[in-house]
């Protein structure tokens, strides 16, 4: 379920040696578009939909969108990553909102969490 990148939010991770979404993808799928310098997925059909890139983006520019063959439009699931937890907001196709806070780490030691 490929990540879609909002070009108004993505800044290409300027200042990073490598864009964060590109750095983390286990399938080597994210990269910057050569002209726009915004993140794109090389091949959306190759995505496992692990949401690692979505969670890693510091500008919340990535939204995981399910393939239309599997799911109706326009439901959303948005993760917001904190130091020791992730807050997930689920908005179904009718606009109903649910929130979940999931623990991720016991200590705050892992400062460089991306």
């Amino acid at each position: 379920m490929p990540p879609k990148v909002d070009p108004t939010k993505c800044d290409g991770c300027q200042g990073e040696s490598e864009p964060l979404c590109e750095q983390v993808c286990p399938g080597n799928l994210m990269t910057l578009h050569k002209e726009t310098m915004k993140a794109i997925i090389r091949d959306k059909s190759d995505c496992w939909d692990c949401m690692t890139c979505t969670k890693a983006c510091p500008r919340q520019a990535i939204q995981t969108v399910l393939q239309y063959q599997l799911a109706y439009f326009p439901g959303k699931l948005i993760p917001l990553v904190g130091t020791n937890s992730v807050t997930w907001t689920s908005i179904d196709c009718h606009g109903r909102v649910e929130r979940f806070v999931m623990k991720t780490l016991v200590s705050g030691d892992d400062e460089d969490e991306d």
């Binding site: 399938g27 090389r42 496992w48 692990c50 439901g75 991720t104 780490l105 030691d109 892992d110």
Partner: protein
């Protein structure tokens, strides 16, 4: 010629996943400060492999009883078939200690009021594992292992029957990596993508297993001449329909039963399933029941979450967010509420895994994790004949492998091998073959759509391979049925691809080179699967492999099927290896 990077390691670890990271940590404990430990990982170690979406349970933990009871459970769960009880026992003996280690690394464990870990069923414990991979990787950092991200390993270096290192290419830098190891641990996971997935087109990677583990461990072991085992014992999963998310959260976690379209709990109705234990029957039997119900036109089949523990349904979405967040999005988009309606399930494409409910992998000597190729060790999904080790068992296996590696290294005083230029050149040509070919063949002309006139892409090859495996080697659309005639066709077609067609495989860039190697490796694994299935002339794992020509188990095959590949003839020679029962008792019953 590509720029070369030379790396030397006392302990060389290929694949920085579940197993590899903890192996690095244990190697440091066992080998001391001076040991040089190197990990090569094709992705980014903090977020790679099976754990990359997170996980919500550790499926191996001795909550009760003894390690022997766990062995008895594992044996029962694959219908009493032969397993390496010695290996499972060695893992079961220290898995609890490993879990404690990971708790101290920051993994949030769920606990009961009495402070004990919250169990799910008999042998699982629940965790908040959305960062399970970064936590696992932190142990490799702590060990001071030298980590190379984005290096794809293509081949082991074998000299005089021993493994002396490995080569690969930089997925980003395009360099040729030549790595010498005094001992080498290969743990690049299992294999997905041999058969055609249920979802097509833009959803073709919405499968259960991690799609970027493509059998490189099996293929490299095979090409190195290692003895391989149990490639007929694939895993055929029942998972949630469409998303193929794990189902244990509902079936074991809330006790949601399988029901058919009539609402019948068929596992508790049919005397055959009841004789196997009903709802908790062995994994292949549950798969078989799913197949039979659907073929009898009583589908769709569901996990009835409305009949499960109502207190648990509220936490269900949270648990999935920790492991397979896409299903929560899927439920939201499709107006599905698991507390009000049952969740539809489906049979997926088969996988080769050694650590889950399948047991393909390399054969190992005793409990050392050393393969039949000297100085080459395996762990995690790459290790064969010892199923149901899962995450916690893969961590533990990494530890056990590391200790044996360090011991062998010291006892034998292994040294770095000289690797001649000729060998390096050959391996480099092979590694970059598809990329070089693209350059050569693009000079021969392009079609108007920009594709090569004289070359084939990894995508074309993948489609062809998956079509052959699907239709002639028991894919989902064939209800996992095979017979000798079908297998004969599969053998002929896969051989043709391997022997004659790979010369046309071309890669435009480094990303495509990686994908090309994924296909090369998977084709090698296909050959193992076909030969093993063909050799085992019986049906020992109904539901996983249904042989229509030999539908019953045959006592002659109450053994392992192992094989060795002959490089000269390209033949896989299969043979029987006797099973040794270590834990006494009825193999078709759980002891507790």
């Amino acid at each position: 010629m590509a720029e070369r990077v030379y790396i030397d390691a006392d302990v060389l670890i290929l694949g920085g996943g579940t197993s590899g990271c903890i192996a690095a940590w244990e190697a440091r404990q066992a080998g001391g400060d001076d040991l040089k430990i190197v990990i090569l990982e094709k992705a980014f170690i903090r977020h790679s492999g099976c754990l990359s979406a997170g996980m919500n349970a550790l499926n191996m933990y001795i909550n009760q009883g003894t390690p022997e009871d766990y062995v008895s459970y594992v044996r029962y769960d694959i219908c009493g078939a032969p397993i390496r009880e010695d290996i499972i026992l060695s893992v079961a003996g220290e898995v609890n200690d490993t879990v404690k280690l990971m708790e101290s690394a920051g993994l949030p464990m769920k606990k009961k009021e009495d402070g004990r870990y919250l169990n799910r069923g008999k042998w699982n414990i629940e965790v908040n594992g959305s960062l399970l991979k970064p936590v696992t990787a932190s142990k490799a950092f702590e060990a001071g292992a030298e980590i190379y991200n984005r290096v794809y390993i293509t081949e082991l270096i074998i000299k005089d029957g021993a493994c002396v290192g490995a080569v690969g290419f930089g997925v980003r830098d395009g360099k040729f990596y030549i790595c010498r190891g005094k001992v080498t641990l290969l743990c690049t996971g299992g294999a997905a993508g041999l058969w055609r997935p249920n979802n097509r087109r833009d959803a073709h990677h919405r499968i259960w297993y991690f799609p970027f583990n493509c059998g490189s461990a099996y293929a490299m072991c095979k090409r190195a001449g290692a003895e391989m085992t149990s490639f007929e014992m694939r895993l055929v999963p029942i998972r949630t329909k469409d998303t193929f998310s794990p189902t244990g959260t509902m079936s074991i976690g809330m006790g949601a039963p399988m029901v058919n379209a009539l609402g019948e709990e068929f596992m508790e109705k049919d005397p055959y399933y009841v004789s196997w234990g009903g709802h908790t029957a062995p994994t292949p039997i549950r798969m078989l029941a799913f197949q039979r119900e659907t073929l009898a036109h009583r589908g769709p089949i569901y996990l009835d979450t409305t009949k499960g523990d109502p207190a648990k349904v509220t936490g269900l979405k949270g648990q999935y967010l920790d492991m397979s967040p896409c299903i929560v999005l899927y439920w939201g988009c499709n107006d599905i509420d698991p507390s009000k309606e049952p969740i539809e399930i489906d049979g997926g494409d088969p996988y080769l895994v050694g650590a889950h409910a399948g047991m393909s992998g390399a054969w190992t000597k005793g409990i050392t994790r050393e393969t039949t190729v000297q100085r080459l060790y395996v762990s995690g999904d790459a290790l064969g004949a010892a199923p149901s080790r899962f995450i916690s068992g893969s961590w533990t296996c990494g530890r056990i492998a590391a200790r044996h590696m360090v011991k062998a290294l010291k006892e034998n005083n292994y040294q770095f091998a000289d690797i001649e230029d000729d060998l390096c050149d050959t391996l480099e040509d092979r590694t970059f073959g598809p990329l070089k070919r693209y350059q050569e063949k693009s000079a021969e002309g392009l079609w108007s759509d920009g594709t090569l006139m004289s070359g084939i892409t990894h995508k074309d090859m993948e489609s062809r391979m998956q079509k052959i495996m699907e239709e002639y080697c028991g894919g989902r659309t064939h209800w996992y049925f095979v017979n000798e005639t079908y297998l004969g066709i599969a053998r002929k077609q896969i051989s043709r691809m391997r022997q004659d067609q790979l010369q046309y495989l071309c890669a435009r860039d480094l990303h495509e080179l990686q994908l090309s190697w994924d296909v090369i490796n998977r084709l090698d694994v296909c050959q193992l699967v076909i030969e093993h299935m063909s050799y085992r002339k019986e049906t020992r794992f109904p539901g996983y492999v249904n042989r229509t020509d030999y539908p019953e188990p045959d006592p002659e095959f109450d053994c392992f099927v192992n094989s060795v590949w002959d490089r000269k003839t390209d033949e896989v020679r299969c043979f029987k290896v006797p099973y040794e029962q270590v834990v006494p008792g009825d193999r078709k019953k759980q002891s507790i």
